[in-house]
């Protein structure tokens, strides 16, 4: 039996006849949300900004997972690996060569993608559970490598003192040290990543991914080289993860083999499933939701993880499609409402 296809999910361009102004409303909501984020530093203090930053750091990897799970239909637990690889790549570049932030950022996602290639070629021969287990194996092995390749990674000592990002050149250089600056920097990266993601799934290739998810044989019979697409998607999702890892390294300023714990893969998975798999807003809503929940639960440190567990069960059984659909429906209602009002006027 294959990964039970997520047949109920709707693709980006929703098939059911949408209210005429729905897209407008969509962009409207997106714009408002973005504006709200952009203004956040004016009203919120450090802790909230930090929470938002964490959310936005996990956003690109979540997009990556959404791409491979939600749009191509393969569950990969290796996102954490590529997240970690991205983090290590940035940390190594910055500590050894003092390369600028932007370069590290790009390099991190490139390196992640390149490492995904040799891993993906064998792994993608596998189906469903075997593939999941294989990606799980990558996590364990990555941690072993990080711990034992001491010459490169300094092993358990980890790499500390990763440089704070600097933007610009020469005397126009701006050193990012304050939380609000970080916030805007990471906001920009997150937005760019999101746009890239949308572009991807709106491209003809995006349709091919959905086709592979829906019925691989049929797609193959229509001349779509499914294997090639799956490999590319695997690498792309790794690139997204690497991006997040790089942001993480430059924000936390320390990287240790602990970034290869299951924690990160799980977190990314929870974000995507919680938000709504196979939906653009899914990963976005998910990442903020995740941070909101985990941080809110800090009110009871000792009960925190137990409650968190219950929240996961709640997700599975009460919101199996994630929370994005609720919000989408809300916006739709909104749009219909708008129409009515116009009529009444």
């Amino acid at each position: 039996m294959a990964l039970t296809p997520i047949t109920t999910i709707t693709t980006l361009d929703t098939p059911h006849a949408p209210s005429a102004r729905l897209p407008a409303v969509r962009w409207g909501t997106a714009g408002t949300a973005l504006l709200a984020l952009a203004l956040a530093p004016l009203v919120l203090d450090g802790y909230y900004l930090h929470a938002l930053i964490i959310a936005m750091i996990f956003l690109p990897p979540a997009h990556g997972l959404n791409l491979i799970l939600g749009y191509t239909g393969m569950l990969s637990l290796a996102q954490g690996v590529f997240f970690g690889i991205g983090a290590y790549a940035s940390a190594l570049l910055s500590t050894h060569f003092g390369t600028p932030f932007v370069l590290n950022l790009v390099a991190a996602s490139l390196i992640a993608a390149l490492i995904a290639l040799p891993l993906g070629i064998p792994a993608l021969r596998l189906r469903t559970t075997s593939f999941v287990m294989c990606t799980l194996g990558f996590v364990v092995i990555a941690q072993m490598v990080a711990k034992n390749w001491v010459d490169l990674t300094r092993g358990d000592m980890g790499l500390s003192g990763v440089a704070r990002p600097k933007i610009g050149f020469g005397d126009t250089t701006l050193a990012i040290t304050q939380i609000p600056q970080y916030f805007y920097l990471i906001l920009v990266v997150a937005v760019l990543a999101t746009l890239a993601f949308i572009a991807l799934i709106r491209s003809p290739a995006g349709r091919c991914m959905v086709a592979i998810r829906d019925n691989e044989t049929l797609a193959e019979s229509l001349g779509i080289p499914t294997w090639t697409y799956k490999l590319i998607v695997f690498m792309l999702s790794a690139a997204f993860a690497g991006l997040g890892g790089s942001l993480y390294a430059h924000y936390e300023t320390v990287v240790s083999p602990l970034v290869f714990q299951m924690y990160y893969s799980n977190t990314i998975l929870i974000i995507v499933l919680g938000g709504g798999v196979g939906r653009v807003p899914g990963a976005i809503i998910g990442s903020f939701l995740f941070v909101a929940v985990t941080e809110a639960l800090r009110v009871t440190p000792e009960l925190r993880m137990i409650l968190y567990g219950f929240v996961l069960l709640l997700l599975v059984f009460v919101f199996p499609q994630g929370v994005a659909p609720l919000i989408e429906r809300a916006t739709e209602k909104l749009s219909r409402l708008g129409v009515k009002q116009e009529k009444s006027l």
Binding site: L3, L75, L136, G137, M144, L269, M305, L313
Partner: protein, 293 residues
């Protein structure tokens, strides 16, 4: 060179002992996978629960080890029954990732609940038959022999159960085709419940049996076991009980040799490296004839 031969032999024996524990735990997991098609990320937690309950019975209720085994397994089974009823059986036919998410949630709840209740510290497990006996020139606790023997016995029992009993036949039927069973009026949900109960009980049992030689008991002890089990069940060919026994013992032996000849720090990746190699060469598991899905 005979010396080296002895060394290898000793390592193999070590491996067989550890491996039979892996096999025991994995057997439960693989059966659950068979009927539910869900990877149980919480499986190690039942191993932990069983051990914890037995520890509690021994050090707080001051019963003897044999009683503790019963109590430990019973306690774990009780919790498993509840979870099976309210969570696992509702995963029938749910998307794969739903199972992953739900079981991660359960493992968080169980693990941290135990930490909350008993504190995070290690507990020393008293009891069991830990007197060393001389065995081909190297010592080992009697408990280890008990462990291997009971593992073999249990697997014999499982084999018989799966082949002969109605329960076993139902399990096999559900593993092959859920829809078909639903049509033929097999109560899939109850089969899932019972399989889950059996599987978790096995995990708990192996926990209690290894506790005397593993000495320590603590809330987080399930995690690493769960990971190892994954490797074993895939190698054994998902849902294949006999294959799981061999895969478990194989993993145990390879681990022992690696940590004996290369280094203990590489031990945990052994399972998955082996798994990856196998998946490349025999994508359907070492022992199952055909892929089940």
């Amino acid at each position: 060179m005979g010396n080296f031969g002895n060394f290898i032999f000793e390592q193999i024996v070590n491996g067989v002992i550890t491996g039979s524990t892996y096999a025991l735990i994995a057997a439960g997991m693989t059966m659950i996978f068979g009927v539910l098609r869900a990877i149980n990320f919480a499986h190690g937690e039942y191993y932990m629960l069983g051990t914890f309950a037995a520890w509690y019975a021994i050090s707080k209720l001051e019963v003897n080890y044999v009683v503790a085994i019963v109590l430990g397994v019973a306690a774990a089974a009780l919790i498993a029954a509840t979870i099976g009823r309210f969570v696992m059986q509702r995963l029938v036919g749910a998307p794969f990732q739903a199972g992953v998410l739900a079981t991660i949630g359960i493992s968080l709840i169980l693990q941290n609940a135990v930490i909350l209740a008993f504190g995070g510290g290690y507990k020393v497990f008293e009891g069991g038959w830990i007197e060393p006996v001389e065995f081909f020139g190297f010592g080992m606790a009697q408990q280890r022999i008990v462990l291997v023997v009971s593992a073999v016995a249990i697997f014999a029992g499982l084999e018989w159960m799966v082949r002969k009993t109605r329960m076993g036949k139902a399990i096999r039927a559900v593993s092959q085709n859920i829809e078909c069973c639903q049509v033929n009026g097999i109560d899939v949900e109850s089969v899932v419940r019972r399989t889950f109960l059996l599987g978790t009980a096995l995990a708990a049992l192996s926990g209690v049996l290894t506790a005397p030689v593993n000495v320590s008991v603590y809330g987080g002890m399930g995690e690493s076991i769960t990971l190892k089990t994954f490797a074993v069940i895939v190698m054994g060919g998902m849902g294949n009980v006999r294959g799981t026994l061999l895969a478990g013992i194989l993993l145990g032996v390879v681990e022992a040799l690696v940590s004996g000849l290369i280094g203990l720090q590489y031990r945990d990746s052994v399972g998955f490296i082996a798994l990856l190699l196998m998946l490349m060469l025999r994508p359907h598991g070492l022992f199952s004839q055909k892929a089940r899905f």
